[in-house]
Amino acid sequence: MNPYAAPVAGRLTILGFVVCIVQLAAVSQLDFFGAHADLVPLVVAMTGLLLGSLPGAVLGFACGFFVDCALIQTMGLSSLLYLAVGYGAGRLREVRDPQAAAVPAVVGGAATTVVTVGYALMQFMLGTPIRVTGLLVGQIFVTILVNTLLSLPVYAAVRRWLLPVMPDDPRRRRRRAQTTRLSPLSRA
């Protein structure tokens, strides 16, 4: 049994619940040039990026379920999209482990694109009578832009919250490895 499983689950439950409530009760009512920021895909993607594909996917599914219930909308739709985002971000970490400072912003932008565009496409496929208007495209674009800008602070906040339960922080590990490998001159 992984000793980190229970604390990780506890922290993820609190994180998911708080972010969904804040998103629905406050952020979705703040207007950014006619669009709204969406913190949920950002938090799910950042969790995947920090903890891996499995916690990312589970948090994504749970957040999607909660959002669909709270808004009384088609069940399963948000779950599927957030799950894809959490899993994708987690796989990126597991396969590539990118270290560049801009990675959270790129991942945040990509996650928002998947969710917003995916949501519209799924609605089309489910037969909802929707027209592709300039306003819709503009809103999707602004949401992606705003979310990309918010990615770095959200990443920092999620990392700070999850740091006590992270089994192995790759950056700390790497830094330690570099400082311990000293040159022969300094060893003398």
Binding site: A25, V58, Q73, M75, G76, L83, Y119
Partner: protein
């Protein structure tokens, strides 16, 4: 890097979650009662929490809104001055027209019917708004305990906002007039032409009216109001008559059988704070 057991477990969990999502989607889309009950149950539990969160985060929203309002105030001022001048010009001719209409249609009776004071208005605060243009719903902090029932009309000072959808003890969801699933019987206030209004979907500033008489002449600028129904009709409308909805902006293929009337709603559904639910059926009001 990862052993086979970890990979198998990861794939199994992923498959389970995807299958669960698809099952939920299918059940929800097929109108399965079980899924609806679960949704209502979760909604009933979380809605008080959302209400508290909404109240405590209101100062933050107001502060943000103040910056936005200041930003837009200059542009709005120019537009309002222009609109005021146009309205002054229109006012004279409209007053004469109103007098004529009063005589023709017995407007006094209509005003009495449309007086929402008789329709048991319950004031409610919007606590949750959908973040997407594709699902136009809001949650209000009044529910079954306040006399709110599914299907009741929701209005603001500007006009019709939507209708109540799901109701639990202390809250309810409202389907907005801009939701693609919304529909209502409407009438053009000036000409009396009737029709059915739906949202165009994807644009909260555009509603579509299909006129009952397909090639009826519709003029740009006409006001669109709810049609309501007379009491001798067996299927009465959910909405009382003469609640303003919006103004005609354009007419596609005007005068033909395929004409589509575009209406800009009076209410900005993206910035709702307080609304009123009309809890008394218009047909039962004396």
């Amino acid at each position: 890097m990862y052993d086979r057991k970890t990979i198998r477990r990861r794939r199994a969990v992923l498959a389970l979650l995807v299958v669960s999502s698809v099952v939920l989607l299918t059940a929800s889309f097929g109108g399965n009662g079980g899924v609806g009950s679960v949704q209502r149950g979760v909604f009933e539990i979380v809605s008080p929490i959302q209400d508290v969160a909404s109240r405590s985060l209101k100062p933050f929203r107001d502060l943000f809104g103040w910056f936005g309002d200041t930003w837009h105030a200059k542009g709005d001022n120019k537009t309002l001055v222009k609109t005021r001048d146009q309205l002054r010009e229109q006012n004279g001719s409209l007053q004469a027209e109103v007098r004529k209409l009063k005589e023709q249609y017995g407007i006094n009776r209509v005003i009495a019917t449309a007086n929402i004071g008789n329709l048991g208005p319950v004031e409610a605060r919007v606590v949750v708004a959908s973040p997407t243009l594709l699902f136009q719903k809001v949650t209000i902090n009044k529910g079954a305990g306040d006399g709110v029932r599914s299907g009741q009309p929701v209005v603001t000072a500007g006009g019709l906002v939507g209708k109540v959808d799901v109701v639990v003890g202390g809250s309810a969801t409202v389907t907005l007039i801009t939701d693609p699933r919304f529909g209502a019987g409407v009438r053009l206030a000036q000409s009396g032409i009737t029709g059915t209004m739906t949202a165009s979907g994807g644009d909260p500033e555009d509603l579509i009216v299909a006129t009952t008489k397909q090639n009826a002449p519709v003029s740009v600028g006409s006001t669109v109001v709810t049609r309501g129904t007379s009491t001798d009709v067996r299927l009465p409308s959910l909405f009382p008559p003469d609640i303003p909805i919006g103004k005609v902006t354009t007419v596609d293929d005007a005068g033909t059988d395929t004409q589509r009337v575009h209406v800009k709603p009076f209410v900005d559904v993206r910035n709702l704070d307080h609304v009123m639910v009309l809890t008394r059926d218009a047909a039962t009001v004396p």
